[in-house]
Subunit: 349 residues, 2 copies
Amino acid sequence: MTVNSEPTPSSAGQPPARSRSANIRDVAKAAGVSHQTVSRVINGHPSLRESTRQRVLDAMEALQFRPNRAARSLVTSRSGMIGVLVTNGTYFGPASTRAAIESAASTAGYLVDTATLTSLEETAFKEALGRLVDHAVEGLIVLAPQEATLRQLAHLPVKLPMVTVHSTSAADDHGLSVDQVAGARLATRHLLELGHRSIAHVAGPDGWVESNERIRGFRTEMANWGLDSSWIVTGDWTSDSGFRIGQDLLAADPPTAVFSSNDQMALGLMHAYGDRGLRVPEDISIVGFDDVPDARHFAPPLTTVRQDFDELGRRCVAHLLTQLGVPVQNAPRTVVPELIVRRSTAAPS
Amino acid sequence: MTVNSEPTPSSAGQPPARSRSANIRDVAKAAGVSHQTVSRVINGHPSLRESTRQRVLDAMEALQFRPNRAARSLVTSRSGMIGVLVTNGTYFGPASTRAAIESAASTAGYLVDTATLTSLEETAFKEALGRLVDHAVEGLIVLAPQEATLRQLAHLPVKLPMVTVHSTSAADDHGLSVDQVAGARLATRHLLELGHRSIAHVAGPDGWVESNERIRGFRTEMANWGLDSSWIVTGDWTSDSGFRIGQDLLAADPPTAVFSSNDQMALGLMHAYGDRGLRVPEDISIVGFDDVPDARHFAPPLTTVRQDFDELGRRCVAHLLTQLGVPVQNAPRTVVPELIVRRSTAAPS
DNA sequence: GTTTCCTGTGTGACCGTGAACAGTGAACCG
DNA sequence: CGGTTCACTGTTCACGGTCACACAGGAAAC
């Protein structure tokens, strides 16, 4: 029984077939009440006689009524939409976080609007943000862990409830993050405790919050042990870059252990070493970061730091909803990562 | 110069500070024209005196006017939004496709609304679809390559321009796909041409379009060579399942080659073989599917079939926009995959 | 018995935009 | 020179909801 199907051309005298869908007044007429009463039913107004409510509900059912969100949004200036600003939606981390955000948002009755940042230019940023603002999103979640983005966000006059992920400092008033420093320290300490002293760090690209935080964690932990932490090489998150860096590290006197800022680059490193006949972990230990689902099947299975992206996504929505005045139980701002020890690390030979 | 910043409490006599943002009539008043003229400027109406247009544009600039989309959407019943229905947003394929969709949509001035399917139940499907419909998306892209979804889509009265990805047959009137059968045949033929005759296929889960299509391609090619194609084991796309299947395959008399329905499961397979001391490709050849960016750094680098997800995403939007009456140059419905030969395959010893 | 309050409902205005229609004046035409 | 056409602009209404307010009638309070 399709609503939109054309009724057979009806005999004269009947009102012409309505092509547009039923509105609140149609329902009102069908239920024999005023449109305002229908509105009250929709919005769960308390003082309504139960019989009236039921009559209206029946009419709504019969007419297949669905409230028009544009109209409601026009008058209430609430859209029921949350905007998400993403840069690299393809990576595992952001993708997982987004999935969790969407699921949590939809549970709360919100729809997620996504705008992808095509570049880090301010114009691209303004454009994407403007698009979301035009569509009247009620709040904003920023999954753009480049410092450039955060800086633009800070100085732009965005009057919008907002949550940023991977924010640079806990002092930030709308930041939410996995404690990258703690994670990096976990990874570094693991290598140190195994007895490694010659440790290199393959960092993520400049300008990414995670890169810097993990570098900071690496440095802090090394310093705690009285060791030099200047052996830092910069990659771009891809396994390709890890591969190239691995080759370079082998050219000179290689370290006995490497802490890679993500799992992909660790994979590339292992590939480079394998190509030269070196064995992991016998010849070199490697720790990754993220715990991508594949990491446990790398050759060898990768020791890494797990970030709970799902949890992060859920908390994003929770914090945003709190700002929007929706009652939800609030969660801590920081998610603590966890070291997963597998077979890519061992004591130096 | 923040628009929303509170002006200093102004002296009496001035009109009270307007908290809401400027609307079309405010602009009209400022420019000394009617609101309709402003509307015409916004919509690029042809017959407008240039001086008038400029005056209006200046007023819009001065008042920081942004058209209210809810109001426009109410009267035009066009929302400027495209709905995307996803099931597994975390996987590389869907994630890449989504990224391409978002970018293409935003180029065309559309915003992307995402609804994630939490289960394959019809209720979940209706709920997600209903959410998108409520928000008046103008068109729908379905990234839910389970047959259950496609079936529900087929029998549901969705009166909406729509594009489904990974559709089951070219006869479908709104389907768009990578030619999975051709890809699977490419992979299988590659193994056959290397001399393998004992070939197993690790399939994706039941009910997924890709699983079935690739099985079909495998069977077709094997049949062409007069070989039995009944050696099919079912995984769930994860490297974990590939690992388990790899162990099982080793229990009996293992095949000399395996065609895995995706790269993750191939990784799991390689892990299982490596654990038993078998070497790839000397002892067993493995072909994957997708060409995930990491595949070239697996140990050994994986021979696989590349799907151009970006292209797929772009074409989705192109086809949808065509249905929406937006002029775009149209693209073929089918994307042809490509065999990438690396080091995980060799002639049987 | 009147006043007050509360429950349940209706009336009319309004949100910001676009569409239909109307009006104005100048140019053009026969 | 009067009528027609055309470029340009204004007036009015509709879109589908919500909000502020009014109002009827019964219960409770005085």
